[in-house]
């Protein structure tokens, strides 16, 4: 029994939507639902995990705007029908794992039957950011519940507090303008990898498994330095770790990597998901690929 990913999609920005996280998330969500043969109204829960968005919007949750634009039960409540509940999660490149953990709880308790997790990041542009480092990408995951022995295992976490020393993003007033700025340390990849390796080992240990029992390791972020450092700390060849093909992807990077991985694996394959990000926070979980196809883009 577990939460299974019914479908996942990644949407890359074109010239028109490269500055709109909202449009990217909506495009990814709509594509995901359409290709899964689901109606927007089927979605009970919509979680957005993207961070960098249009106008650096603080309120409402971007998820509410995404819900309206996707058309998931946006109308006023009425009898004998069900609505959709939306909110945002922020946990950097680990947020997809957090969202999956939340979805898993609500599916397990039969509170919902179907969840859509969307994420996107885009440079808000128009002088609102400085040296924006991430690619404009949107991604979506459609989740439901399987009574079979597939899906998501327990999600493990570790925090190694660094007070934002390794990676930090802030919006602050400078020269009378509110600007999004970034800072990172040269040690960032190593620190993220150390946390990622630690949590991966505890995840495997609890399941009484070793790395040789895992068919594929899917990791986020997609940075080459992080991937190499993670492989070194886990003492495995770097090729065993699948990451997104664009190392500048941010919150969508785990979905993109998972999309590449599931192309190559058969049902029942065991995947180790490892995500690390600012904080330093890292999470890991085992995922057993479901029988029905998970179609990548």
């Amino acid at each position: 029994m577990g939460t299974v990913i019914e479908r996942l999609d990644v949407t890359r920005a074109g010239w028109r939507n490269r500055h709109s996280a909202l449009h990217l998330a909506v495009a990814a969500g709509k594509t995901c639902l359409q290709r899964a043969g689901r109606k927007p109204d089927d979605v009970d829960l919509l979680i957005n995990t993207g961070i960098y968005r249009d106008k650096n919007l603080a309120e409402p949750a971007l998820a509410a705007l995404i819900q309206e634009d996707i058309g998931a039960n946006p109308e006023d409540p009425h009898e004998d029908a069900h609505g959709t509940f939306s909110f945002d999660i922020a946990n950097g490149t680990c947020a997809i794992l957090t969202a999956l953990q939340i979805v898993d709880g609500f599916l397990r308790s039969h509170t919902i039957n179907c969840a859509l997790v969307v994420t996107s990041d885009a440079d808000p542009g128009r002088g609102m950011s400085e040296h924006f480092p991430f690619s404009p990408v949107g991604a979506a995951l459609l989740c439901d519940w399987s009574e079979d022995d597939f899906g998501l295992g327990r999600v493990h976490w570790v925090n190694i507090p660094d007070d934002g020393e390794n990676f930090r993003a802030t919006v602050g007033l400078e020269d009378a303008r509110n600007v999004l700025r970034f800072s990172e340390s040269p040690a960032m990849d190593d620190q993220f990898a150390a946390a990622g390796a630690q949590v991966a080992q505890s995840c495997l240990q609890e399941a009484s498994l070793s790395l040789s029992d895992v068919d594929m390791i899917v990791a986020s972020p997609a940075r080459h330095g992080y991937r190499a450092a993670l492989a070194a700390k886990l003492a495995i060849p770097v090729e065993r770790i699948t990451v997104a093909d664009d190392e500048s992807m941010h919150t969508a990077s785990l979905v993109s990597a998972l999309s590449s991985a599931t192309e190559k694996l058969s049902p029942g394959a065991r995947i180790l998901l490892v995500a690390a990000g600012a904080g330093v926070t890292a999470g890991a979980a085992l995922y057993r690929q479901a029988l029905h196809p998970v179609s990548p883009t």
Binding site: K55, A63, D76, P77, A90, N159, R168, G279
Partner: protein, 365 residues
């Protein structure tokens, strides 16, 4: 099986556990800003009687000495102190604020506020993440944590928020010209930190009996807040009448669902704590609900907005602590926490407090 519009936790198969409220804490800045003093700072002659319009006569504000991070941290420590619980025992810390100001008016986007607060209070083993759902943030966090506790995923967690949001009022004071301004709601804002500690209890004990939420997304653009122009922090643009119209139209059906699912009537609810936007709006909304049901909760809706203003995602907890400290909530009584927030988010958390919790505030049955 009848369908519910609300996404409702508590309607599935019996869960092994229940979540009880083990502590509620808050932190209010010491500085009081009266409505008269705030309105005296408006750049234009607005001819607005804000106190008459909203019932708010003062709010607490940070004068730069506190920010979202410090407010949240102080509230978290107050909550743990009330519950006589160690931070090291927390399995999860969820930060739910709209504002994430740290070091003045610098909004921290990454890393998370939750990881900073967890580290500050010594919750080293806690899972951390931030949840954002406008003024419904804390109750959304409670809904997520309640689900995890009921399923046995975690044993104890803290839902926390620090809102240093009064800067939006100062920004609005520079732009508002008259009562039709979309920034009028900013003048109601006050600062506060709040925290709720939930922990595992047996399935038969009191605690959270039901949590239900929905997002009426057709109204998602009725209130938008973002950094704009040369003003520090952010500015907020609200169609307050549109929100109130939608809320009054949509809430009765959703409350019917909650009461039906919980198997109780309106008069079985002892206390109602709604989101605190304005005293007038709360009274008008509750009158509409009572008229729709032909029945009322046992006590009038709690109002703290007159003293503290609208403290965004923290209002329910600020009001809950006020009532607990005043001894107005007794063991075994049922409280309906009603969220109404930009999105449009509408949610209800039904909660019964036990003798242990009430006793922490110096009162007993």
């Amino acid at each position: 099986m009848p369908k519910h519009w609300l996404v409702m936790e508590g309607q599935g198969p019996p869960a092994p556990f229940r979540a009880r409220l083990a502590g509620a804490g808050r932190h209010l800045p010491a500085t009081v800003l009266t409505t008269d003093d705030l309105m005296a700072t408006t750049r234009h002659h607005t001819h607005i009687d804000l106190e008459r319009l909203t019932g708010i006569y003062e709010r607490r504000v940070s004068i730069g000495d506190e920010d979202s991070y410090s407010l949240a941290t102080s509230a978290a420590l107050d909550c743990l102190d009330k519950a006589q619980q160690q931070a090291a025992s927390l399995d999860v810390v969820i930060s739910c604020s709209i504002t994430k100001f740290r070091g003045g008016l610098t909004q921290w986007v990454e890393p998370t506020m939750s990881s900073a607060v967890a580290h500050a209070i010594g919750a080293e083993k806690a899972v951390t993440f931030d949840l954002s759902n406008a003024c419904a943030g804390m109750l959304t966090g409670v809904t997520v944590l309640n689900d995890w506790i009921r399923q046995g995923t975690v044993e104890r967690g803290l839902v926390v928020s620090g809102e240093y949001i009064s800067q939006l009022g100062q920004n609005a004071a520079r732009h508002i010209r008259n009562i039709m301004s979309k920034e009028l709601a900013c003048l109601t804002l006050g600062d506060a930190g709040a925290a709720l500690l939930l922990e595992r209890a047996t399935a038969e004990s009191g605690g959270i009996s039901l949590a239900g939420f929905t997002t009426v997304a057709d109204h998602s653009r009725l209130c938008l807040a973002y950094p704009k122009g040369h003003d520090p922090g952010a500015r907020m643009f609200t169609d307050s009448r549109g929100i109130q119209r939608a809320a009054i139209a949509d809430t009765p059906l959703l409350l019917h669902e909650v009461l039906e699912a919980a198997g109780i009537a309106m008069h079985d609810i002892d206390h109602v704590i709604t989101h605190q936007t304005s005293a007038r709006a709360i009274r008008k909304g509750m009158a509409a609900v009572s008229a729709a049901f032909g029945d009322s909760p046992r006590h009038d809706a709690v109002i703290t907005v007159d003293r503290y203003g609208n403290t965004a995602s923290t209002t329910h907890t600020v009001a809950l602590v006020e009532e607990l400290e005043a001894g107005r909530i007794r063991p075994g009584e049922t409280i309906a926490l009603i969220a109404l927030a930009s999105g449009l988010e509408i949610g209800v958390v039904l909660l019964t407090v036990d003798e242990d919790l009430v006793g922490r505030y110096g009162h007993s049955d």
